[in-house]
Amino acid sequence: MNESGLAPSALIPVPRGPVPEVPARQAVRMVDISIDGKKVFASEGSTILEAARQAGIDTPTLCFLENLTPVNVCRLCVVELEGSRVLVPACSRKVEAGMAIRTDSERVRLSRKMVLEFLASSVDLSAWPEFGGYCERYGAHPERFGKDALDHKQLVKIDNELYVRDYAKCVLCYKCVQACGVEAQFTFAIGVAGRGFDAHISTEFEIPLPESACVYCGNCIGVCPTGALMFRSEYEMRQEGRWNEAEQTKTDTICPYCGVGCDLTVHTQDGKIVKVTSPLDHSVTHGHLCIKGRFGWQFVQIQPALQDYR
């Protein structure tokens, strides 16, 4: 944990006077590996996932996100590594010279299929865009576990104006905890509580969000892969059957609030803002925002009020 409790980037002072010389970067060393029989030249320190993507091999992921440290808990990205007794997670395992990797062997396909079936038989994956395609690709049939399979069905938690928490959709990817904690926000409002199948995302003592340390930055929504955490605006439109991503326009802009200059992607439907995100690869935000950038756009669409000012 950062001792000051602040994101390191916020502490970097604006340089004055002569700018010190940046030490020359060492050349990245490359290593030879093989993936699915093909020779791949990967940079040392990169992961198997990165090397596979570089080689044009699509690897399914769920708990992985480019702007967070891999936690490798979903095990959807597992690959077969020659010499390893068990499969290894592509998202976090670093390449080493001479590695021979198979991403589509029988063992890999079986584990990926089972992970999909395990998840789909216990949580609602309807809001995970890639789910259907992956099921088809790996022949997953979650109904094999029967209608009595223990699951996480529960009521949606709606206890604030800004976002809802539908833990019946939670795959426990740990990303919201990472984003709330050391990887972005340093607020620590939530953790993984309980154990085993009862493990779940929770505030302290399961208190409602408004009583917790939550600052409503919404960075947890930004990283949630399955729609368990959702803008209230999106949730309500979905409930009413009005949510239509095909009709939405995404507009990149700069947040108007402060001088940091965060990139915003404003999602609009029917001429109204329905949610705000930030690009993961943006050097300032890395996808993360604060409450103002994420939620503070209602004023834009209060038409009568604006007319009053004219």
Binding site: E3, G5, N72, V73, C74, R75, L76, V78, V86, L87, P89, S92, R93, R107, L110, S111, K113, M114, V115, F118, L119, S121, S122, R144, F145, G146, D148, A149, L150, V171, L172, G181, F188, A189, I190, G191, V192, A193, G194, R195, G196, F197, D198, A199, S202, T203, E204, F205, I207, E211, S212, A213
Partner: protein
């Protein structure tokens, strides 16, 4: 860090329990602000003490019988850990209660070894006299729970009693009956001792007691485990002196030469671990050694025998390990359900400190080494080495991904060796005898001595020390033969993570290579016998429940796979299969394969082993 706290406040009692571990707070205002925002002690220049979270939670549980929101807030503020994380950690462990709970709790083992000795009937009797499991009983002053294996399988059935208060008490009830359990419960509530006849014993369950060929067990039951003098008089600490004369490189060479394989279950070469950590030694290095005494594999109780019967031998092994790899600090992580082991080991550490076998300048040299004892709190997974590190560090006991391995990045991300208790007790033998001589004992691939834990339907249950090479049949004969009906149905080898073997396989030599030949492993030395009166399907159901209960929940294959395998087994047993039996078995095998291949750690990877071994050997559902 600025912490956001709820308005729940700790009582003076709870505060004093926490302060008992952490010392009095430097600034009372830190805690007393109570408006929801308080600066933790880090802001006042305190050091990072998160690793004291587990001891703090233990102190609170022991004082009041549960962890209240106010108490957890106080712990959070004192340790400067966000309350959501304190709650996340507290809710991980079985022995911590997060809702108001009566001060006295009774944990009755209903796991597989105790099942063979009438645990189910015992629980049924307790249910009729005390009421439902988990409900308050005895005028609201007590409650009882069914428990996974308590590690006293040789004296099954067993129960653990815990009583919270200013002077908390913990006691085991061995060879329990409803009468002795209820009497013990009454006694504990009246602050009296558990009746002597129901307390655990060592000597009676060491059938080889007094035999001269014993090496590892030679002191157990023969010397006073609280007496350092008796330990010295029986050759104790000669190995540490010898090791310090030899120098660390030579000690590690001898351990490598001994070809000792770890006795905790994974059978990894001990010398390889030591070598890897020693290789990284620089003047500024911080290395750790950890003794894994979280013995929780159902049917395993050998490490308890050492901790209660020869605690200095454990310490000597750990101290030699620390010397050999350049560590100044060792940790001993004892499972929470071993109150007596904790007491004996704590006494031993204090005595060793007092006689310069621990602390600064050991034996007048420049070598300094301290040992801290930590107690688990009811989580089988914490026996996994990286989960154990997280547990010590004050995080949830979730295993880490490997690599990096502990020898590179272990406890507090430093190079660390983790060795099981029995493994460490072998170390003085290796140092004194020489690695090459040690390697000549046993078989070429399985060197040295080995302890086995015999339980279930066996005539003389207990801990046995043998040389590698003895067959399973010979070991059972050594233990007096099959008990119960006298007709053997099955043997569970290696514990819940091991395999069942059939009477036709009794001539298998109990060596690492021998049992591998029949698709089994020695694990932690469990040999549990089941006679022909046992319904193996019930035993399998209990094993499935065990893994479901003990999965940490981190990775999908284990978190969901352990549930699905339990459900499929229940459908097969109850003849409630949706499709055909063949389909269900095929599905079970696919679940098992994914758990073995894709789980993060050994728990998920081995959770289907025992089930499948039984189903395949006896075609149980054909």
């Amino acid at each position: 860090m600025e912490l956001h706290l709820t308005n729940d406040r700790a009582t003076p009692d709870e505060q004093s329990a926490v302060d008992g571990v952490l010392g009095a707070p430097k600034d009372r205002r830190v805690i007393a602000s109570g408006n929801g925002h308080g600066a933790g002690e880090d802001a006042l220049g305190g050091e990072n003490r998160r690793h004291l979270l587990l001891p703090v939670l233990h102190a609170l549980q022991a004082r009041t019988g549960w962890l209240s929101p106010g108490a957890l807030n106080y712990a959070a503020a004192r340790l400067d850990v966000p309350p959501a994380e304190v709650y996340a950690v507290a809710s991980f462990y079985d022995l911590f209660r997060l809702e108001p709970t009566p001060p006295v709790s009774l944990h009755v083992c209903d796991d597989i070894a105790c099942k063979t000795q009438g645990a189910d009937a015992l629980c049924a009797q307790l249910e009729s006299s005390l009421g439902q499991e988990g409900a308050p009983c005895m005028d609201g002053k007590a409650t009882w729970f069914r428990s996974p294996c308590l590690g006293l399988c040789d004296q099954a059935p067993v129960a653990l009693l815990r009583s919270a208060g200013k002077s908390p008490r913990e006691a085991m009830v061995a060879q329990a009956t409803a009468q002795t359990v209820l009497a013990s419960l009454q006694n504990v509530m009246e602050d009296k001792e558990v009746p002597a006849e129901s307390r655990p014993r060592i000597k009676e369950f060491l059938p080889q007691l007094g035999e001269t060929q014993l090496r590892l067990l030679r002191r157990v039951g023969q010397v006073d485990p609280t007496s350092l003098r008796e330990y010295e008089q029986t050759g104790g600490y000669a190995a540490l002196r010898r090791a310090m004369e030899m120098g660390r490189e030579k000690v590690v060479q001898e351990v490598v030469a001994s070809r000792l394989l770890g006795r905790g279950g994974a059978a990894y070469p001990t010398g390889k671990k030591w070598e890897a950590v020693l290789r990284q030694l620089r003047p500024e290095s911080v290395h750790y050694v950890v003794c894994n005494a979280d013995e929780s594999e159902p049917g395993t109780f050998k490490d308890r025998i050492f901790m209660k019967g020869d605690p200095f031998a454990v310490l000597e092994g750990l101290t030699i390990a620390g010397f050999a790899v350049g560590a100044k600090k060792g940790f001993l992580y004892i499972r929470g359900e071993y109150p007596e082991s904790f007491r004996f080991m704590s006494q031993a550490v204090a005595a060793a400190l007092g006689h310069h076998y621990l602390g600064d300048g050991i034996l007048g040299s420049s070598f300094s080494f301290d040992v801290e004892i930590r107690r688990g709190a009811g989580a089988y997974i914490c026996g996994e080495e990286t989960a154990l590190f997280n547990s010590i560090e004050g995080y949830r006991g979730e295993p880490r991904n490997k690599p990096p391995f502990p020898t590179e990045s272990g406890l507090f991300r430093r190079p660390t060796i983790v060795n099981n208790v029995e493994t460490l007790v072998n170390i003085p033998e290796i140092v004194l005898r020489g690695g090459a001589a040690y390697a000549r004992i046993g078989t070429p691939q399985s060197t040295g001595y080995r302890l086995f834990c015999l339980s279930g339907h066996v005539k003389r249950p207990g801990t046995y020390e043998v040389l590698f090479g003895m067959t399973l049949r010979q070991l059972i004969e050594l233990a007096g033969g099959v008990g119960g009906t006298g007709r053997l149905q099955a043997v569970l080898l290696g514990g819940a993570a091991g395999s069942f073997v059939s009477p036709a396989e009794l001539d298998t030599p109990l060596t690492f290579e021998g049992v591998r030949g029949i698709g089994a492993n020695l694990g932690s030395g469990v040999v549990m016998l089941f006679d022909d009166s046992v319904n193996l399907k019930d035993i399998l159901a209990r094993i499935a429940k065990f893994f479901h209960h003990e999965s940490c929940g981190q990775c999908v294959p284990c978190r969901v796979g352990t549930i699905r395998q339990e459900e499929i087994l229940a459908r097969l047993t109850g003849n409630r299969t949706d499709g055909s039996t063949e389909n269900e078995i095929a599905l079970l095998k696919e679940v098992a394969q994914a758990m073995r291949d894709a789980s993060i750690c050994g728990l998920g990877q081995t959770a289907p082993n025992a089930l499948l071994s039984a189903i395949e050997r006896w075609r149980l559902f054909a």
